[in-house]
Structures are given as structure tokens and as C-alpha cells.
Symmetry: D3
């Protein structure tokens, strides 16, 4: 039953890293709540740096400022 | 008022299929809850196969394993 | 694989209406995209009238204004 | 068309504050993108302190640690 | 703590407009709820016109009909 | 930067289990993607059994049928 949505910035997350996130979250829900992996859905969404804001700035601007 | 978000894997959903999903969900909310179509928003999000996990595997890996 | 999230205002949606929404959306995804009901998750979220805004007003205020 | 979802911790946000958030976001989308208020939906979701995590801790634990 | 998700149609929103949305929402949450900008995350998601439905039609069809 | 949303059925998830989910997801994102825990937000949402559908049935009905 669990549905997990992971939003991260679009910065070249590899297929292997995505697989590790999916496996890790599914295992965590099995260990902590006994949720069946067969019913656990995980969706990873990658967000452009211009489209993610923190501290009132986009990540693009935030990083330029803190270079 | 209803807002409906439909997440499916990115596998060539056609414009006609999207239109059918939008029309169908809007009609369903009108029939079941009397919600006005003019206030019903439907958003379809298509997710890469590597980015959707089920059973601890990405859909890509899940399908390779079950070929 | 589909995950469908339905947000509606919290206004006494009955168990039967929720069941009709779940059945209707699942059937629609089967008919339009051939998605297996066993993999189709539907989540209904009910939102307080003060917490939903339209036209710059909460639904509470919007309705008071249009009584 | 815009749909804005605001998630905040459940800490007694008042009706007036919710109205101010709804009005403010709707005005912002009108000013920046010319979006019609009549088509702008805003949903505010309040999350229990135990249910929001930051720095690996729930907000409850995070605040106890930093008292 | 706030997490704000803004969904708009994919119609050439510029970097500057995104920055203005991020700054505006962050300022609004600071003014209304006293939320620290350093903890305020804003994510902007752009949705294809075929993927957004209103009034039972996709935005593409809706606009063709109302040309 | 990561924002993780975990939706589970409302079935008495304890404070300790929530803390374990938050810690586990934050650690996973640190290990796999090197994401700073201080920027990792996790939100757990608990959904009523009548409000979660699978196989075209609500979880309530699904479990009654499979008792």
C-alpha cells in the first residue's frame, strides 16, 4: 500500500542510484511497517535547478551566489 | 474544486488516451459527487520506467526479470 | 502501476461515494490504458473548506460571498 | 490553471492566515504569469509535527533537541 | 518547513518568472506565518497542455474550442 | 534538497516508527546521492482505509472480501 514520492534536483541521478533508492525505501517500509514490497510503489521525480527554490532563490541562483 | 493527479509510466500514452482519461475522470466526479466540470482539474504525469519502483525494483528491471 | 490522487473538499463524502470513485477510476484506467486493477492505487484526500482557495478566496469565503 | 499545494506543519494556522496565503499566492500568479484567479486553485495541507522530518529527525524531536 | 508545489502549464515560463515565483512565495510564508526562508522549499512543475484537463477537455482542446 | 512524501494507510503508525522512517529515508539519500540531511524534508501522510483504493476496491472492502 505505501506510495513514496521522492523529489530531487535533476543532476544526473544514474539508473543504479535510482535502483538503490527504490530498493532502500522498499526495504525500509518492510522493516519498519511490515509493508509488502509487492504493494510498495516508489516514484522518483527529477526537478530542474531553476524550478527548485530554497531560501527565496532558485538552486541555480543559490549556487551562483555561494560559489 | 476537485483536483485529480494521475501518475502513469511514460510509455507512449497518446493524445486521445489522455483526452479519454480527462473526460472520464471529470464525468465520474460529476456523476458521483456532482462536481462541476468547469472546476475539475486533472493533471496527468508520465514517469520514466527507471523512476518507478515496484517490489523493490524499477519497472525496467522488474520487466527484464519477468521476461 | 497507475497512482491516482483525488483531492476534494471535506464535505461528507460517503463510503459508498469513495468506493464508486475508486471503482470508476480503476475501470477507466483499465479501459483506456489497459492498466491492471491489481496495480492501480487510488488515494482520496479530503481538504477543509478553509484550506482550499479559488479566485483568491477560501471556499468558505467564496461561498459566503456568493450566498 | 495553476494548482498550488502548500504543506506546513500543523501549528494552529488561523483562518485569516490561510486566507492571506490563498490571496497572496493567487495575486503572485496573476502578477508574474498573468494567470486568472478564477482558474487558480490553492490547497493548504497541515502536517503533524511527528510526521514531518528534517535533518533525519521529526520536527518534534528536532525541537526537543534544540530547546 | 514549508514545502510549496506550484503546477502550471508548460508555456515558456522564463527563468526570471520562476525566480519571481520562488521569491514571492518564500516572502509570503515569511510575512504570514513567520517561516524561515532557509527552510522553505518551492518546486515548480510544468505540465504539457495535453496533460492538463479542465471542463473535461485537455487545455489543447479547450483552447481550440474557444478560439 | 530532497523532498520525500510517504503515503501509508492510517493504521496506528507509532511515533517511533515515524522517526525510523524519517531517519532511514534521510540516511538513504545521504548514502546514495550524498544529500545533506539538513536539506532533506520527509513528510508522512496517513490515509483512511476507505480513502485508499487497490484492485478497484477500498482497502476496507478489499480486506473484508479477503478475510
Amino acid at each position: 500500500m505505501p506510495y513514496v514520492n521522492i523529489k530531487v534536483t535533476r543532476e544526473g541521478v544514474t539508473r543504479e542510484q535510482k535502483a538503490a533508492l527504490i530498493a532502500g525505501v522498499t526495504e525500509l517500509l518492510l522493516q519498519v511497517l511490515g509493508k509488502s514490497p509487492a504493494l510498495t510503489h516508489v516514484v522518483i521525480e527529477e526537478v530542474e535547478l531553476d524550478n527548485w527554490g530554497l531560501g527565496g532563490l532558485s538552486v541555480t541562483a543559490f549556487r551562483e551566489q555561494n560559489r
